[in-house]
C-alpha cells in the first residue's frame, strides 16, 4: 500500500467521506461493527469501499491469549475481508476473552516466552484462515506487570519475525504507555524494527478522570497532541513513510477537523510541508 494517511470512519460522516477527494485518503473501520448479516451499515461500507481503500481493524481477536481465537469470530472476520477486500487487516497485542466473557478493552499480560509462543500460534491461525497478513498493534499500557521476560518492542519484533505478521505502531499508545510505566517513548519507538512496521496510528489521550491517578488514558477523544506529533515525525524520519491513521472514537468533531489532522499526517508522509 502506498504510504498515505487515512481516517477512522464514523458513520455520521458517511456523505462527506464518500465525496472526499483528498489524495491518498483511505478509511479504517472497526471490524466488529460490520460483522452483521446485512442492512444499511453494510451498504454504507460497500459504498465507502467503492470510493476509497479500506483498512479493517479488529478489536476482538484476543490474539495475546493462551487460548486460540474464537473460530466463529475468526470466520466472521474472514467473511468481512472477503467481501470488503481491505488493503490492511489488523488487531491488537492484547486479550479480551476469558470464560465466555468478552472484556471490551485491550488487556495486558506478562511478556514471557510462553506468551510469545501462544500469540505466535494465534497470529498464524488468523493469517492461515484469512489467507493474508495480519498487522498487530501495540496497545496502551497502564501497569508494569511483574514477570515480563522481554520488552514490548522485543516481543513485537520477534512476533513479526516468527509469524511474518506486520506491526501497527501506535505512537500515541507508546506515548501513553511510556508516561504510565515511566519509560522513554523515543527509545521505545527506536527499538521497534522499522521494516516490520506496516502502519502507524495517531490519536489523542486524556488524564485519568480520577484526579488522584497519575495515569494517561487512551481515550481517542481529543486531537493528537504536540508531543505525539513530534515522536511521529521522528519515527517517519527513521523508518520512512508508512500508512498513517488518525483515530477518533469519542467527542467526535466535524469531518473537516478530522481531515485537517489527517492532512497534517499526509503532509509529513509526502514531504509537503504546506500541510504541516
Amino acid at each position: 500500500m502506498t504510504p498515505t494517511a487515512g481516517l477512522g470512519f464514523k458513520m455520521e460522516h458517511l456523505d462527506e467521506a464518500l465525496s472526499a477527494t483528498d489524495p491518498g485518503l483511505w478509511f479504517e473501520v472497526h471490524a466488529e461493527n460490520y460483522m452483521v448479516d446485512g442492512g444499511p451499515r453494510l451498504a454504507a461500507l460497500a459504498a465507502l469501499r467503492a470510493q476509497h481503500p479500506i483498512s479493517v481493524h479488529g478489536v476482538g481477536l484476543s490474539i495475546a491469549s493462551s487460548q486460540p481465537p474464537s473460530r466463529t469470530h475468526l470466520l466472521r472476520l474472514k467473511h468481512l475481508c472477503d467481501r470488503t477486500q481491505p488493503v490492511l487487516v489488523s488487531d491488537h497485542l492484547a486479550w479480551q476473552r476469558w470464560d465466555g466473557v468478552h472484556h471490551a478493552d485491550f488487556l495486558p499480560f506478562p511478556r514471557t516466552r510462553a506468551a510469545l509462543a501462544h500469540t505466535a500460534d494465534n497470529v498464524a491461525m488468523v493469517q492461515d484462515t484469512l489467507g493474508r497478513q495480519l498487522l498487530v498493534e501495540n496497545p496502551s499500557l497502564y501497569v508494569n506487570l511483574p514477570g515480563h521476560a522481554m520488552s514490548e518492542a522485543e516481543f513485537l519484533n520477534e512476533l513479526a519475525l516468527v509469524t511474518g505478521c506486520g506491526l501497527i505502531l501506535d505512537v500515541n499508545n507508546v506515548y501513553v504507555s511510556a508516561h504510565n510505566l515511566s519509560f522513554d517513548a523515543a527509545k521505545a519507538l527506536q527499538a521497534i524494527n522499522g521494516d516490520a512496521v506496516a502502519e502507524t496510528h495517531l490519536a489523542g489521550h486524556a488524564a485519568d478522570s480520577d484526579p488522584s491517578s497519575p495515569l494517561l488514558i487512551d481515550t481517542h477523544g481529543a486531537p493528537v497532541n504536540a508531543a505525539v506529533w513530534s515522536l511521529y515525525a521522528q519515527l517517519i524520519e527513521r523508518i520512512g513513510p508508512r500508512p498513517t491513521l488518525i483515530e477518533r472514537d469519542d467527542d467526535i468533531p466535524g469531518f473537516g477537523a478530522l481531515i485537517a489532522e489527517r492532512n497534517r499526517a499526509h503532509g509529513l508522509l509526502t514531504g509537503q510541508p504546506e500541510y504541516v
Partner: protein, 243 residues
C-alpha cells in the same frame, strides 16, 4: 494450566469480581480500575446505542445506572457490541428502580427487534407480484412481530426524530402489536391489528398463502388492504422456504 492462562484467569477474576490476587500493589489496582471502567463503558455505550428510546424515557442517569447493573450481571459474551443486550428487556422488567414503569420492558423488547431488523440479512423484498397460493409466503429476514401489553409501538414512534410534539398526547393506553420491517434502507415500525399479526405468524409457520389468506378472511380481514399494507411495509421476501 500454563502460567499465561493462570494470569488471564486471575486478571479476569479481578476485573469481574473486584478482588485481585495479582501481585503489583496499588499499581495493579489502578490499572484494573482503568480496564474495568473502559470495558464497562464500552458495554454501557453499546446499550445506550441499542436502546435509545428507553434511555430517553427514563433519563440519562437512571439509564446509565440500569445499564451498569446489567453489564455487571450479563457482560458481553462476544466482541460484536452492536448486537449486545439481547437480555436487557427482560432485565428491565425485573429492575426494581423502574418497577413503576411496567410498560418499559415492552418498549425495550421493541427496540431489540429494531436492532435485529437493522442488521438482518438483505433478503429481496416481495413486491406482491407472482402470488402463489399453493406455497408459503416467506417472512423477510428483518421482519419481527412484538406483542405488548401497552402502547409500546406508539411510545416508540413518538420518540423518533420525525415525530411531532403532539404524538405523545395522542397515545391511547391500549395493548399494541408492532410490526418491525426494513422496507428500504431503514427500519420501520408499524402498529398492526391481531389479524395482521396472525397473518404474519401463519407465514412464519409456513402455511401456504392460500391457507393464511383464508384464515385472515375468516377473521374478517379485508385481504386486499391487509396485503397491500404488509407488502408495502416489506414484511415478506421473494424467497420461498424450501427453495
Amino acid at each position: 494450566m500454563s502460567e499465561h492462562a493462570a494470569f488471564e484467569q486471575a486478571f479476569a477474576a479481578a476485573l469481574t469480581g473486584g478482588n485481585s490476587t495479582l501481585p503489583g500493589g496499588p499499581d495493579i489496582a489502578r490499572a484494573l480500575t482503568v480496564h474495568r471502567n473502559t470495558s464497562a463503558k464500552a458495554a454501557q455505550d453499546a446499550l445506550a446505542a441499542n436502546y435509545p428510546v428507553v434511555a430517553m424515557l427514563v433519563g440519562d442517569e437512571p439509564f446509565a445506572a440500569s445499564a451498569a447493573a446489567f453489564v455487571a450481571v450479563r457482560p458481553p459474551g462476544e466482541p460484536r457490541l452492536c448486537l449486545y443486550g439481547a437480555d436487557f428487556p427482560a432485565f428491565l422488567g425485573d429492575y426494581a428502580p423502574f418497577a413503576s414503569l411496567d410498560w418499559l420492558g415492552d418498549v425495550a423488547a421493541l427496540e431489540r427487534a429494531v436492532v435485529e431488523a437493522l442488521f438482518a440479512a438483505d433478503d429481496q423484498l416481495f413486491d406482491g407480484s407472482a402470488l402463489d397460493l399453493e406455497r408459503p409466503l416467506t417472512a423477510h429476514a428483518a421482519m419481527r412481530i412484538v406483542r405488548m401489553a401497552g402502547p409500546g409501538a406508539s411510545i416508540w414512534l413518538a420518540h423518533q426524530p420525525a415525530s411531532d410534539l403532539g404524538a405523545l398526547d395522542r397515545i391511547e393506553w391500549t395493548a399494541e402489536i408492532a410490526l418491525v420491517t426494513r422496507p428500504g434502507g431503514a427500519v420501520m415500525v408499524t402498529a398492526i391489528d391481531a389479524v395482521a399479526a396472525q397473518f404474519c405468524g401463519d407465514c412464519n409457520a409456513e402455511l401456504t398463502l392460500g391457507e393464511t389468506a383464508a384464515a385472515a378472511a375468516r377473521s374478517g380481514a379485508d385481504l386486499a388492504t391487509l396485503f397491500a399494507a404488509l407488502i408495502g411495509a416489506g414484511a415478506f421476501t421473494t424467497l420461498h422456504s424450501g427453495d
